[in-house]
C-alpha cells in the first residue's frame, strides 16, 4: 500500500492550479506559448532505418526492419507493415514491465492507422512474387524517456526511420523466373521505401476550462488536462487519422480549429523531418564514397556500428544471437569478402554491407528462425542464393 503511494507521486494541487492559471494568461510552465512545439531534434543511427527523436525531454527511438514473408491471402500483392511498441519502466515508473499496457497499444494503433490506412507506404512495391513472397516491414518503437506527448515523438521517429530505411534489392531469376535473388548491398545499392506522403501526428491537450487548448503537452500538463486529441495530417492538409478517445467533450468548431492548426504544424514538422533526412542522406553518401576509396575511414565511422557478421566467424561476438539466423546464406557472402580484404577494416566493410541486408531480420530474434519459415519454405523452390 505504502509502496503504491510512493510510486504514484502525483502533481500537487498547487501545480495543477498554476498550470491552468498560467494558461489563462497564455503562458506555459516551460515558457512556451500555448500553441508552440518543443524543440525537436532528429538523430539517425549508423544503421539504415534507425532514428532517435528528441522532443523537449521526450526521447523515442524507432528502428525499421524488413523480412521476406508470405503475404496475407486477401492481399497477395501487398507487403505488410506492423508496428511494435515498447514502454519500458525505465522511461516512466508508471509503465509496467511485461505485456504492453493500454497506452502502449493505443500509441501503436494511432501510428499504425496513420501510416497504414492512409496508404502512406507503397505496399505494392514491396511485393516480389505475388501470393508468395513480399517484404514485411516492421517498425519497433522504444520509449526511452517520457516527458509528455509520446505519440507525436513516436510518430516522427517512425517516419524518420522509414525514410532512411533501405531494403536489399531483389530480382527474379532461374529458369521459370520464380527464383528470388536477394542482392547484397555491395552488389546493388539497397532501395529506399516508397512513401507517398508523410502523416504527421499533432497532439492537443484540452482542459476543464473549455477555452484552453495546448499543443504538444508536457508530462505535467498531461497530468492536469482532461482531454486529448491527436490529429494525423500530411503537409497537403489531408487528415489521415484522428484519435480523440472519449474524455472531455469539445465543441465541434474547436476541433475544426485544431485541425487547421495541426495542418500548419504538420507542414513545419514535415519540413524538419525532410531536412534531417536529407542531411543524413548526404552524409551517408559521403561516407560511402570514402569507404570505397579508403578503408581506414570506414574504420572510423564504423566504430559505433554494430559488428555484424564478423562475430559469426570470429566467435567472440556480443550480439551473436540474432545474426545466427543469417548464417546459412550469409556465409558465402562473407567468405568472398574475406578473400578480398583482411583485418578490422574488412570486417567493418563487411559489416556495413551486411547490415543493410541483415538490418531486417536482425531484430526478429526471439521468434522462430524466420528464414527457415519463409525463405526455405517449400513454396519457394529456390532457396536464397547470394550472387557474391
Amino acid at each position: 500500500m505504502e509502496q503504491r503511494l510512493a510510486n504514484c507521486v502525483q502533481l500537487t494541487v498547487n501545480e495543477k492550479q498554476f498550470i491552468e492559471n498560467a494558461l489563462l494568461s497564455e503562458l506555459r510552465v516551460d515558457g512556451r506559448g500555448p500553441l508552440e512545439y518543443r524543440k525537436l531534434s532528429i538523430k539517425f543511427g549508423k544503421d539504415d532505418g534507425s532514428a532517435e527523436v528528441q522532443l523537449g525531454e521526450t526521447r523515442v527511438m524507432s528502428f525499421v526492419s524488413a523480412q521476406l514473408v508470405q503475404p496475407y491471402k486477401d492481399r497477395p500483392n501487398e507487403g505488410t507493415l506492423s508496428i511494435f511498441t515498447e514502454f519500458s519502466p525505465m522511461a516512466d515508473p508508471s509503465f509496467e514491465p511485461g505485456r504492453p499496457g493500454e497506452s502502449a497499444v493505443e500509441l501503436g494503433r494511432i501510428i499504425d492507422r496513420g501510416l497504414r490506412e492512409s496508404r502512406a507506404i507503397d505496399t505494392e512495391s514491396l511485393c516480389i512474387l505475388s501470393a508468395k513472397l513480399v517484404w514485411a516491414i516492421r517498425i519497433d518503437i522504444h520509449i526511452l524517456d517520457n516527458a509528455g506527448n509520446l505519440v507525436d515523438a513516436a510518430n516522427i521517429a517512425a517516419l524518420a526511420s522509414l525514410l532512411t530505411f533501405r531494403r536489399p534489392e531483389c530480382s527474379l531469376g532461374g529458369e521459370d523466373g520464380q527464383q528470388v535473388v536477394v542482392h547484397p548491398p555491395e552488389v546493388r545499392e539497397p532501395l529506399p521505401l516508397i512513401l507517398h506522403h508523410l502523416p504527421v501526428a499533432v497532439t492537443f491537450g484540452f482542459f476543464s476550462n473549455e477555452n484552453l487548448v495546448v499543443l504538444d503537452p508536457t508530462y505535467h500538463e498531461e497530468a492536469v488536462m482532461t482531454g486529448r486529441m491527436t490529429a494525423t495530417l500530411n503537409a497537403n492538409g489531408d487528415v489521415c487519422a484522428i484519435q480523440k478517445p472519449g474524455e472531455q467533450g469539445i465543441f465541434q468548431h474547436i476541433i475544426m480549429h485544431c485541425l487547421k492548426l495541426a495542418h500548419v504544424k504538420a507542414g513545419d514538422i514535415t519540413a524538419k523531418i525532410k531536412d534531417a533526412v536529407e542531411k543524413h542522406n548526404n552524409e551517408r553518401a559521403l561516407q560511402k564514397i570514402k569507404r570505397r576509396s579508403s578503408s581506414v575511414s570506414v574504420d572510423v565511422c564504423g566504430t559505433t556500428a554494430r559488428l555484424g557478421g564478423k562475430q559469426n566467424q570470429s566467435g567472440g561476438g556480443k550480439d551473436n544471437s540474432h545474426l545466427d539466423q543469417l548464417k546459412p546464406k550469409d556465409e558465402a557472402n562473407f567468405m568472398e569478402c574475406d578473400a578480398t580484404s583482411s583485418g578490422q577494416v574488412q570486417i567493418n566493410k563487411k559489416d556495413e554491407g551486411s547490415k543493410n541486408f541483415t538490418g531486417g531480420p536482425s531484430s526478429w530474434y526471439g521468434k522462430k528462425d524466420p528464414y527457415s519459415e519463409c525463405v526455405n519454405s517449400d513454396l519457394l523452390k529456390a532457396p536464397m542464393d547470394s550472387e557474391c
Binding site: 501545480e15 494568461s25 503562458l27 515558457g31
Partner: protein, 240 residues
Amino acid sequence: MESKLSGSATNLVDQLVYPGDVVLDLSSMTNQTIKLGGGLRQDSDVISVMKAGRLRFSKPNKYWVESSQKRYVPHAEDSVLGIVVDSRSDNFLVDIKGPAIAFLPVLAFEGGTRRNIPKFEVGALLYVRVVKANPGMNPELSCTDASGKAGEFGALKEGYMFECSTGLSRMLLSSPTCPVLDTLGKKLSFEIAVGLNGRVWVNASSPSTTIIVANALINSEPLSGVQQKIMAEKLLQRVQ
C-alpha cells in the same frame, strides 16, 4: 594513496572524493574525536568514502560528503517540501522524495489537539520539518519549529512547485544569498520556499514572474556565481 594518508585529512577537504577513497587514517591521529556525516564510513581504523561528492569539514571535527542527488535522504532538522498522498486517522502520509513515505502526525501543528485536526486534500503541498529520521523507520515530520511555533511551516497555497536536485536547493539556501536569487530579487518580487529535499516552491503575483523565476533557478544549476548573475540579468532584460 600513501602520501595522502601520511598528511592530514585536510588536504582532501573541499575536494572531490569518490567511493573507496580513504579520507582519514585514525591510526595516525592522536586521540582526536571526530564526527562523521553522510557518505563517510569507518573501516577499522580508516575513514573511507561511500558516495561521490565534495568532502566538507566544519570546525572543530565534523566531516561529511556533500553531493547532489535527485532523491533525498531524510535527516533530522531539515526543512523539506512534502506532498500529502493520503491521510490516516493519526497521520498524514507525506511524500518527501525519500526512500519511505514520511508520517506527519495530525497533532504536530501549533496548538494541535484532537479537536482541531487540519484537513489536507491529497496533493496538498506542505512546508515541514523532519523531526525523526531513523533508518528502518518512516521519517516523522512536524509543522512546527523546535519551540512548537508554526513559524513558516504549514501548507503552501497557490504558486508553483518544481523539483530539482538536492544540490540546487542547498545552493539556493546558502548564505550569502546565491547570485541568481539576489539578481532576480532586485527586480522582481516573489515568494520562495526551498526544501532541502530538492523541491522549490515559487509564488508571485503574476504567473509570468513565477515562470521566469522557476526557469531561471532550474537553469542556474550548472552555472558558476558570475554566470548565474549574467544569465539572470539577460533574462530580466528580455522580460522588460
